[in-house]
């Protein structure tokens, strides 16, 4: 299958190579980091860069990032673009529909803090006002390489997660299902 067991931490191959011992954390985190399935979901021009990252030139799928058309099958949500207040309720709703563990990457200046719409009447100034965010990715819009870097940072975060007591990589994730407005 091409799995290089030597490169995984805390995985030990017994002599003969037929049995491997590992902690459940390292196996589960290895599976989670290698199959981050994002929701097919874009809000503004950042979504164009996100689509470019999925396409042949950048080939997100080699990192296990494969867009899913339903929140029930998605692990990560790229908030790619300006979050209008009209869109805030649907975003909270689809975030609630994603199964735990779930991660959010705020992509671009608008999703981070409102960007050029910092004093607008109709824009949520940062998607972290409505849902918890794991990785903030600046840029207007960020290039596909930057989005890949954000995914690599998220993978680093996921590797620190512990199954014990359901604790996650962040204090927010440790609380399990989160308090939403």
């Amino acid at each position: 299958m091409g799995i290089v067991l030597d490169n995984l931490s805390k995985i030990e191959t017994l002599p003969g190579g037929e049995i491997a011992l590992a902690t459940s954390d390292s196996l589960i985190n290895w599976a989670r980091t290698s199959s981050l399935w994002p929701l097919t979901f874009g809000l503004a021009c950042c979504a164009i860069e996100m689509m470019a990252a999925y396409a042949a030139r950048f080939d997100f799928e080699r990192m296990g990032v494969f867009p899913r058309p339903t929140p029930r099958q998605a692990d990560v949500m790229f908030v790619a673009g300006t979050v209008a207040k009209k869109m805030a309720e649907p975003i909270i709703r689809i975030y609630k529909q994603m199964p735990e563990p779930k991660f959010v990457i705020a992509m671009g200046g608008c999703a981070n803090c409102g960007g050029p719409f910092y004093d607008s009447y109709s824009v949520v100034k940062g998607v972290d006002k409505i849902i918890p965010v794991d990785v903030y990715l600046p840029g207007c819009p960020p290039r596909p390489e930057a989005l890949m870097y954000a995914v690599i940072k998220l993978q680093e975060k996921i590797r620190k997660m512990k199954v014990k007591n359901g604790s996650g990589a962040t204090p927010l994730q440790a609380t399990g299902s989160r308090k939403l407005s």
Binding site: K86, A88, Y121, S122, V124, K125, I130
Partner: protein, 178 residues
């Protein structure tokens, strides 16, 4: 038939109709009183084949916005006479652009209404179906009521939005997302 001839033809029935002093770009621009707006549009559609409503929008003429931009302060005191030569006056202006695809003509209609809280114009829904969402947008941004519109609710901003954002005296009230 040119727009001049159409205007002359319509002016026999609607004396309030006139050529606007300030044209929009270089389009033929007419001013229409609010009470004859619907009948003029009906006539334009049925008799002169103006079958396409391009744009419904509005302007708040109550003076320039504050140079600081945001939040804006009211530049014209309601009811006061404007300064000489100033364009600012205490009105809303609803602008319609109608096209005749067969004749290749396009006309702007400007309709001034007093700038009050419950300012209203007759809805063009029923003559032009395209008026449905565009009038909702104007209502959302300016608070102008369109009499006879079947579903006049906000379209772009959430229901929690307070006030009408494109009015010159709009001041933002922080809501649950701010």
């Amino acid at each position: 038939m040119t727009t001049e001839e159409i205007l002359a033809n319509l002016q026999t029935s609607f004396p309030g109709l006139a050529k606007a002093e300030l044209p929009i770009k270089n389009y033929p621009t007419w001013t229409v009183p609010a009470q004859s707006l619907r009948v003029v549009c009906e006539r334009l559609r049925s008799k002169f084949s103006f079958d396409y409503l391009d744009v419904v929008t509005a302007t708040d003429w109550s003076g320039p916005a504050s140079p600081k931009g945001y939040p804006r302060s009211p530049a014209v005191t309601p009811g006061a006479t404007p300064a000489a030569g100033a364009l600012a006056r205490d009105v809303f202006e609803v602008v319609y652009i109608v096209s005749s695809l067969s004749a290749g003509l396009r006309i702007c209609l400007r309709c001034e209404i007093p700038r009050t809280e419950g300012a209203s114009v007759p809805s063009l829904y029923g003559i032009f179906m395209a008026a449905d969402w565009q009038e909702r947008e104007v209502y959302d941004m300016f608070g102008i009521k369109f009499e006879g519109h079947p579903n006049l609710i906000r379209i772009l901003t959430p229901e929690t939005q307070q006030g009408y954002p494109l009015r010159k005296d709009y001041e933002h009230i922080p809501d649950k997302f701010d």
